[in-house]
Symmetry: D2
């Protein structure tokens, strides 16, 4: 085992085979993709990369899966295979992230251009960063490394990619059915769900680097109280009921990180400016793996610096539009057309942004998502989390922040207009 | 200045005069009154005392008052007097706490017995720990020490006591009116309100010692965004709007500390056992200051060890009743008389406990409490926090936990009864 | 597994059998024995108990032993037996600690009175807290609980006691020889050595509760780099060379905890006063297990409060002698008889205390202690730590603090005498 | 005041005038200069920038100066002027740092080219990053901003630059002599000395981001115990003797950060590769302010990516030489010419690096550095720290790490050669 220092988890341990995968070019590229993009402008400490986040997600998810599967009787080598496949899915889950911001997904090509075969659903839609993750797992030096280093242990690139997507590997549908237990869902829930390793890492990591306390939650207690339960023929994530307050705290940690950090007016404004820059088509993302690997934050920032686009120059010279108005609601949406009309008629150069989040999807999208079960062993009862306690109904509503930004030179004029 | 190491605040600084007050017997007694009483049984780390909490409250409140009054023009010596009086009110706010648990307030005498003169409202009601705090400030070696050490600076025992109570000192009603500014309310809000130094210290301290993360909130950010505002002729606490998420997080920290720690089934059960022990009248609290000072945790535990009371023996031998059922609601209250009847008819020895908390009183008790104001300097607007954002309406409801405990020997029988 | 919240380790997990042992009266007694005794007077946060420290030591040592034995091929059930026996030795290592302070060992009876049979070396010498630990493991309700709960797994009270003492169990000398590997030494090193779980817990815990940063060291990195190596026919602890700076930092953490906390003038002074109180023979410790279990901090403090001894009254009323002079040296010892003579002839009531510590015993007591080996896998070399790098020669010397304390009333007079 | 979130200090407060200086292009450039350069390759969390470090240094130094000058009687406005000038010197101390690594100083021009006038000592020597700091303070948009925003308060660019350099401003030698107190030395000691704000920030920050505990020390305690003392006609930094262990711990924190982080073999190796790349003269740093501002990490990395230099390609593709041998000594230096000869004759491509540090310069360079004084107020004694306690003689010696690196392809061959 090789130990890596990590500020969030202390020490992260990786195997010699994993080190070779970590040293691959697609994974090393993540060193130059910042985890929080423009947030660094409001939170000077937030310089962390998706590289460290990916290592942390693998570390966190390993502890989760060990707990979740502890009570299920599995052959030693099969348990090791599932664990190793999951570790790679966790390690690589952000491999396809574009430079700097989720906004960069807008300049991605059609999914069909990525030539993912059965791993693509609709070739006509625009590709996402997740599609690029699948692409790089299935079509880069990583593909061959997985087969060579871990093929004998039953780990394949296709199985890793399928855990990222949450669908069984095409043509290998029983890959995660072991000793009669279908573990496909629970394994995918650890990669991506309301209580996944991705969030377990990023909330703590983002809070740590931003210097805010919103992202703190009792991750150890939460992990200690995880389990997996058979439900409708396949295993899903379960939580011991004494881990309930820790889970509620985790949900609220995420809400506050959204309100205070992810939806911060500075980064939402710069994201908007980047979107405007992209509209001109000056910068696009290639479908080819090798070409895509060159696209990191350094590549994009160099392009912005060299560009004559006024939007690029606003970004490079850090001249954002200024926040004029901010309102909050429960997702019902403000209809402030009157305000917009006044600003327009006064000749104010402004734009309106709206950031909206739902605390928990378990309520309104009950039938779409795999459930999280709460267990009360003393009384032998198991419930879906949204049914367990009435307190959770508070989390069904969305929370939204609406903002109007205007040109700095017009800020005083616009404020007078609003006050008047 | 003398520096004291503190795990929560790092370094706490006190003046030579304050050290003499800290070294007094009434304050040293707090070394032997645990902050969380029986919580230590569920959280082995929670051994901290009200002594350290009181120092921390003084420290925290000092930073709050410096911020809150920063923008108000006050003569240097008057500012120093207010600051020093407040520091003592913060330092002494828990002076009268009884041994081990709030439950011990049940064996306190009538308020009249404390002979507090104009500081007593209704002599016929039972005294509280707050009355004892006033008693010890006004009638112990502390009284004389304050006058001797700080009398020249305009600090009096009566003024300190009045800041604890939140009423101007009898016969000295202008004590906290300076240069035309009535600061009585804002000073008292720092000692006791929804955003007071007491909570700012104990949430962090209790979380620190219990080893849970619920009590984390951005205390520095919150403090940095405090101010004081004139409102209806007197000053009240104000909050810059960019401190809003930190305040919401602080409220939720408190909720989670209640749910996970303060209402933990183990300590609520032991509190109940102690209450039953007290019913026999074997142990009472004296009205006299000197005699009261002997009553600390060591005195009470020694009494419990020596007692033949079956309730005392359950406590001393750590043989609590066992948790049988737990339900949550929004304060509307369960009417589970059917369950109680079944347990009774089956001869189960059980009791029912209910713990209930309100996140924020600013909504339903709007007219009773001094408001917390939110300021938006850019648009020159000030609102009561409950009006500022619709999001806060989530915090108006109470949250309650109801539990049934039964005799350990009957636990299996009772569980079968419920399952059947 | 049952999870326990702990502020230092986050979550500590224990088995149902261990919970029964933890709930025993001898272990619960440790709730009322403070870890740092009188240190709380100088560090108000330091209220933690040996109860939490013992749980933490078990937790820490488990991670150490899993690492240390990872590379040794052992049958699954034998590995489990060694692990469980070690966990109990770690859990119980402080079971026999007397009330409040190590000074209380002075009122312990002769070792012979404890009737430990072959576990006693010299019946004529005074017993120590370690002897009482062995006594309580071998002769209390714990003895029977171990046999009943864990006897089938090969865990016996005698084996647990022997790991505490570091000698094979009498008549069962091969207890820790498995598959030809003699693990007696390495297991004992985890219980007690220069790099043991006791220190790994108490340095961090004491620093955490005192609010000082001296006790921080990279415990995860250190543990990740542990191993066990065959050396002269038995296994001893080994350290990967990249853990070297973490180990050096750990040694220096301990030095600074001694200088700043354990040797603090306040607690050394109170320890001295307690020793003087004991001289009169008013309070002694019984040899019988049941009677000994009643002796905790509450028992001793109640006795001190009730005592007419002037030394007891100085302690109870917190009236220590005052620090007059402090000097540091490298253990060679000051011969300041001239100063003492001057104080004596001036009629000053004073006493002199000297606290001395060695950073590492591996140098001057090389032949007495089991070695710690450093491994450089790349070059296939293994060295004793004292030979590995010349830098460690800095740690061979002792460091000592000498102090003179005098009666508070004579402090000014004594200072003038020294200045004159 | 504007509050900025910072992970190390919690909240950093800056004035509106300072925000304008922070928003200047020279200061914003520091966002793209990593604090630890190549260390990120060994410590994935260490992505922090000199931007955040500079804010933290200003914050830390402000607390230090408030403490140090607290006991000196100064006019309010003069105290404010000194504080503000110092804050800017702290904020800007790293302004001239070259991209990525100190190694980049090798491609700086002659000092004379920077045209610093009386602020340059020897025009013929090569410029350093400190000279560029002075350059940017005296000749960029910052220069004009200081005069415009803070000129009325007596703050000038020349005075700020002179505090960075530690020499009185040319022609304005009494700038820091106030009310007869010469504060030049103590102010400069806070910017740059063995106990300066730079170290107080970077040790904690680097440890925080690397995820190691070496950089922890009791900064609050240390700061609380700071003072300033008149010594040979000017004020120097003083330390209350009870802050001594905290200072010793701080020195050792720094030693361990050197050994474990700053001298890590990975970053020293990449620094060497960068030095080799620079030898060809392909990349140089311009003397002109405007041109220099374009040179940040992004500029240099883009240049390395575009370069055909084999050294640049080793860096970009992360193909370092491999560590073959590492030895430690006390600075006396190994003469391992025999080893080098064997490697050379075997045709091994290798290089040798040596990293050396002194814990404290107060001993051997006693006459060159301004002293740090230790105060014992009780006995009215003041000593230079190197005379105060014999324990400090341990810190006079240097500690060095010597390493040999070789081409990866030859690692096995070289190891066999050494083993044979």
């Amino acid at each position: 085992m090789i130990s890596i220092h990590d500020p969030v988890h202390g020490t992260i341990e990786v195997t010699p085979a994993e080190i070779k995968l970590i040293d691959s070019r697609p994974f090393q590229r993540l060193r130059h993709v910042k985890q929080l993009g423009f947030s660094e402008l409001a939170f000077p400490g937030a310089t962390h990369s998706r590289y460290a986040h990916s290592l942390g997600t693998m570390h966190m998810g390993t502890r989760m899966v060990e707990r979740a599967l502890a009570a299920i009787d599995l052959p030693v080598d099969e348990r090791a295979r599932l664990r190793q496949t999951l570790r790679l899915a966790l390690l690589f889950h952000d491999l396809g992230h574009p430079p700097l911001s989720h906004v960069s997904e807008r300049v991605m090509p059609k999914l069909g251009d990525l030539r993912l075969g059965p791993f693509a659903d609709d070739p006509a839609r625009q590709a996402t960063h997740e599609d690029y993750t699948v692409k790089l797992v299935l079509d880069s030096e990583i593909t061959e490394l997985i087969e060579r280093l871990l093929g004998d242990a039953g780990v394949t690139a296709a199985r890793v990619a399928s855990l990222v997507l949450g669908r069984p590997p095409p043509g290998d549908e029983q890959a995660f059915v072991v000793a009669g237990h279908d573990l496909t869902t629970v394994l995918h829930q650890i990669v991506s769900s309301e209580l996944d390793a991705d969030r377990m890492d990023y909330l703590r990591r983002d809070a740590y680097y931003c210097g805010v306390s919103y992202g703190n939650f009792d991750h150890q207690w939460l992990t200690s109280n995880l389990t997996a339960l058979a439900h409708d023929g396949h295993y899903v994530l379960g939580l011991q009921h004494k881990g309930l307050w820790a889970f509620e705290n985790f949900l609220l940690s995420r809400l506050h990180m959204f309100l205070a950090v992810y939806y911060h007016h500075t980064s939402t404004c710069f994201d908007h400016l980047l979107g405007r820059y992209y509209e001109a088509g000056e910068y696009t993302l290639p479908a080819d793996s090798e070409a895509y690997l060159e696209r990191d934050d350094i590549h994009l920032i160099s392009a912005l610096r060299a560009s004559k686009s006024p939007w690029a120059q606003l970004i490079v010279r850090r001249r954002p539009y200024r926040l004029l108005v901010e309102t909050h609601d429960f997702g019902e949406g403000p209809k402030d057309t009157e305000l917009d009309a006044r600003l327009t008629s006064a000749g104010i150069d402004f734009f309106r942004l709206r950031s909206k989040g739902v605390l928990s999807k378990y309520f309104k999208r009950r039938d779409e998502v795999a459930p999280l079960l709460v267990i009360e062993p003393e009384v032998g009862r198991t419930s879906r989390i949204e049914d367990y306690t009435p307190l959770y109904r508070r989390f069904a509503e969305a929370v939204a922040v609406s903002r109007v930004f205007c040109l700095p030179e017009q800020l005083e004029q616009a404020r007078r207009l609003l006050a008047g």
